[in-house]
Amino acid sequence: MTDVVSVSNLVKRYGDLVALDHFSLRVAPGEILGLLGPNGSGKTTAINCMLQLLTYSQGSIELFGQPMTPARYDLKRKIGVVPQQVAVFDELTARENIDCFCSLYVSDRAERRVLVDAALDFVGLRDFQRFRPRKLSGGLLRRLNIACGIAHRPELIFFDEPTVAVDPQSRNAILSGIQRLRDEGATVVYTSHYMEEVEQICSRIVIMDHGRVLAQGTADELKRMISTGEKIEIEVADLPAAVLAALRALPHVISAVYEAGVLRVSCEASQRNLMDVLDALGRADVAVGRVWSEPPTLNDVFLEITGRELRDETPEAGR
C-alpha cells in the first residue's frame, strides 16, 4: 500500500543553522506516527515543509503517493492541520470558527453544517458552540483548535503539540479523540516532546534531534535498542560504599548510584535483576524502604542516544 507520507533527505537551512538535516520519514495509511523530540529539534519545521509552508534546500516530499508542491490543492484538500498555537478568530463564536475553516475546503453550506455539527460533537464543544474563544478555558480552546483542523474530514492530519498547557482531563480527551480519528480511517502525524502521550497513542515513533532522525520504530523496538532493560529504585537509609561497589559488580548491572537516600540501579534486561539487588542488600544487613522497578522509558532511549534528557524544560503545570 502506498505510504501517505514519504519524505526523503529533506534539508532545511536558516542561514548557518541546519533545521532539517537529511530528514526522512514514511507514514503508512491508518497509522499514528509520533514525532518525538525536544523543543527546537525540527518537528514543526518538518511539518511546515510537508505542508509547503516553508521552502527547503534539498529533498523530496510525496503525500498520498504524489509529489507535494504549494499548488497541489487536490492534496491539500485531504490534509488537516492542528497548529501548536491556537489559531482561531477571536471575533467569531466556536461554531463560526469551525465553519470558517471548514469553508476553506468545503464550499457547500448544507454539507458544511453537517460537518461542523460532527466536529462540535467530536470534540465535545456542542454546549459551547455560541461561545467566543475568549470565554473558553484553555482545554476547550485546544479542542476548538482541533475541531477547526478536522471538520472537513481530512485523510491526513498533522497535530503539532496539541496538548501543550492543557489540563489532564482535556489532554486525555484530546488523545482519545486522536485515536478515534485513526479508528475512522485517518492517518495522523503527531508531534510532541511528551514521551508518555507519544507512547500512549502512537503506533510508531520517530525520535529526532537537531533536525535528524535518531531512531524510529515502535515503543518496544526503541526500548530494545538501548542497553538498559530495567530501572530499580530503592529507598535506603544508609548505604556503605562497599555495598555500593558490590552492587555494581552484580551481573547485568550497568550502573548503581546512591543519592539523597535513594539507590538507583540500571540493569540490562534480565529476569532476576530485582531479586539479585535485594539479596545483595540483605546480605549486607542494609534496611530497605520502598522499592520501584520499571522498564526503560523513551526518555531513557533519548538519554542513551544523545546523552541528554528528552524533557529539557520544567514540565507544564497539571501534567
Binding site: 484538500r77 501548536q84 471575533e91
Partner: protein, 401 residues
C-alpha cells in the same frame, strides 16, 4: 470567495470601529460645519430681501466745524453708533474689546484745512482712525469715510460755494446708492455647511477606512491563522486578492455611509443644488476613500498590530487633513506648506470640492477639473496599493524562507 466572506464577517464583528470612525466622525463633521458654515436648515437665499450689515462705529470730533459735524452725521447714519471717551486708553480699549469696530478721530482744524487744501491744490489733512482687528467691517467703514472726504475735497476744489452747500452736495452724492436686492437664480450653489462637512469627511474616509481595515482584519494576519489558511486549498495569491476585495468593499461602505449621512442631514439646504454638483463632490470623496482603502491595505500587508494601526491611521489622517486645508485654510499657511500639500491626496480632493463650491454652474470645465483632481487622488491610491502588494509579497517570501 471563502476568505472574502470570512474577511467581511470579521469586519462586521468590529462594528464598533464603524460607529467610531464613520458615524462619530461624520457627526463631528456636522458640528464643524454647523459652527463655521451655518445650520442644517434650508438655504437662506430663498429670502430675496437684503439688509446691509452695519459696523459699530464711534467718532471723536476735536474740530467742531461744519465739515466735522457733517462727517459725524454721515458715520452715524451708516453705522450702529456708539459713544467712546476721548482718551488714548479709552480709544485703544474700545477697539481691542470690539466695543467699536471703527473709531474716527477728526483732528482740530480739519474742516478748515480740508477746504484750504482743496482750493490751493495742496494735500488734504489726515483723518485718524482705529480699526478693530476682529473683522473687516471697520476697514470698510474707513473706506467710506475717506471716500466722503475725497468727494468734499473734489467739490471744494471745483467750487467756491459755502461749506454748508458743499456738504449738502456730498450728502446728495453719497445718498445716490445703487439699490440692492437678492436675485433668484435658476440653480443654487453648494451651501458652505455641506462643503465643510465634505472637507471634514476626508478624515473618516482616509483614517477611518484605514483603521477599520487594518484593525478589523488583524485576525487574518495572525501567523498561526495564516499557516492554517496556507495549508488549505486557498493559494497565497487568491488569499491576497480576496482580502483586497474585502478591503475595497469596506472602503465603499464607509464612503457610502458618510455620503448618505451627509445627504440625509443636508437634504434641505441641498434642494435646488444641481445633483451633478453633489455627485462631483461625492466623486472626489470616493477617490479619497480609495486612498484610505489602499492605506489600510498597506497597513494590513505590513502586519502592524492593532495599536500601531490605530495610531498610524489617525496621525496620518491628521497630517493629511491639515495639509488639505480642512483645519486651517491652505492660503494662510504659506507657499512652502502649500507646495508640500500638493504632494498629498487630501489637497487635491479638497481642491475639487472647492472648485465645485465656487463654480456658479456645472460646466464641462468644472467636470474636467474635478475629474483630473480625482484622478490624481486615485493615482495616490494606486501607488499605495502597489507598495502594499510589494510589501506583502516580500513578507510572504520571508515567511517561506
Amino acid at each position: 470567495m471563502q476568505v472574502f466572506k470570512i474577511a467581511l464577517r470579521l469586519v462586521r464583528r468590529n462594528w464598533m470601529l464603524f460607529a467610531i470612525y464613520v458615524l462619530a466622525l461624520s457627526v463631528m463633521g456636522v458640528f464643524m460645519a454647523t459652527g463655521v458654515g451655518g445650520g442644517l436648515a434650508g438655504s437662506a437665499s430663498a429670502d430675496a430681501s437684503y439688509e446691509q450689515a452695519l459696523p459699530k462705529a464711534a467718532v471723536i470730533d476735536r474740530d467742531g466745524s461744519a465739515v466735522s459735524r457733517a462727517l459725524t452725521e454721515y458715520v452715524r447714519a451708516n453705522s450702529t453708533f456708539v459713544e467712546v471717551e476721548d482718551g488714548t486708553f479709552a480709544l485703544q480699549d474700545a477697539a481691542a474689546r470690539d466695543v467699536a469696530s471703527y473709531v474716527l478721530v477728526i483732528p482740530a482744524g480739519y474742516g478748515q484745512g480740508l477746504l484750504e487744501a482743496a482750493r490751493s491744490g495742496g494735500d488734504a489733512p489726515e483723518l485718524e482712525c482705529i480699526v478693530s482687528y476682529m473683522g473687516a467691517s471697520g476697514s470698510l467703514m474707513d473706506e467710506k469715510v475717506r471716500s466722503w472726504a475725497q468727494e468734499l475735497y473734489a467739490l471744494a476744489a471745483a467750487s467756491t460755494a459755502p461749506v454748508e452747500e458743499l456738504v449738502s452736495w456730498v450728502e446728495g452724492v453719497q445718498d445716490a446708492r445703487v439699490p440692492v436686492s437678492v436675485a433668484a437664480t435658476e440653480q443654487e450653489g453648494v451651501p458652505s455647511a455641506y462643503l465643510i462637512y465634505c472637507q471634514f469627511a476626508t478624515y473618516p474616509l482616509f483614517g477611518g477606512v484605514a483603521a477599520i481595515v487594518a484593525t478589523g482584519l488583524a485576525s487574518l494576519r495572525d501567523p498561526d491563522v495564516r499557516r492554517r489558511v496556507g495549508a488549505s486549498c486557498v493559494g497565497e495569491g487568491s488569499f491576497a486578492r480576496q482580502v483586497g476585495a474585502a478591503i475595497a468593499v469596506c472602503g465603499l461602505v464607509v464612503w457610502a455611509a458618510n455620503a448618505a449621512f451627509g445627504l440625509a442631514l443636508y437634504h434641505g439646504s441641498l434642494e435646488g443644488v444641481p445633483p451633478a454638483s453633489v455627485a462631483l463632490m461625492l466623486g472626489a470623496l470616493l477617490a479619497l476613500g480609495l486612498v484610505g482603502t489602499a492605506f489600510g491595505f498597506l497597513l494590513s500587508q505590513l502586519g502592524v498590530s492593532h495599536q500601531v494601526a490605530h495610531a498610524v491611521a489617525n496621525i496620518a489622517s491628521m497630517v493629511l487633513t491639515f495639509l488639505a486645508g480642512t483645519w486651517v485654510s491652505i492660503d494662510q499657511m504659506g507657499a512652502g506648506m502649500e507646495a508640500l500639500a500638493r504632494f498629498t491626496p487630501g489637497y487635491w480632493c479638497v481642491d475639487a470640492l472647492g472648485a465645485v463650491y465656487e463654480a456658479p454652474a456645472v460646466t464641462g470645465e468644472l467636470v474636467a477639473r474635478v475629474a483630473s483632481d480625482a484622478l490624481l487622488v486615485a493615482l495616490f491610491a494606486a501607488v499605495i496599493a502597489l507598495v502594499a502588494v510589494v510589501a506583502g509579497r516580500a513578507r510572504r517570501q520571508r515567511a517561506l524562507a
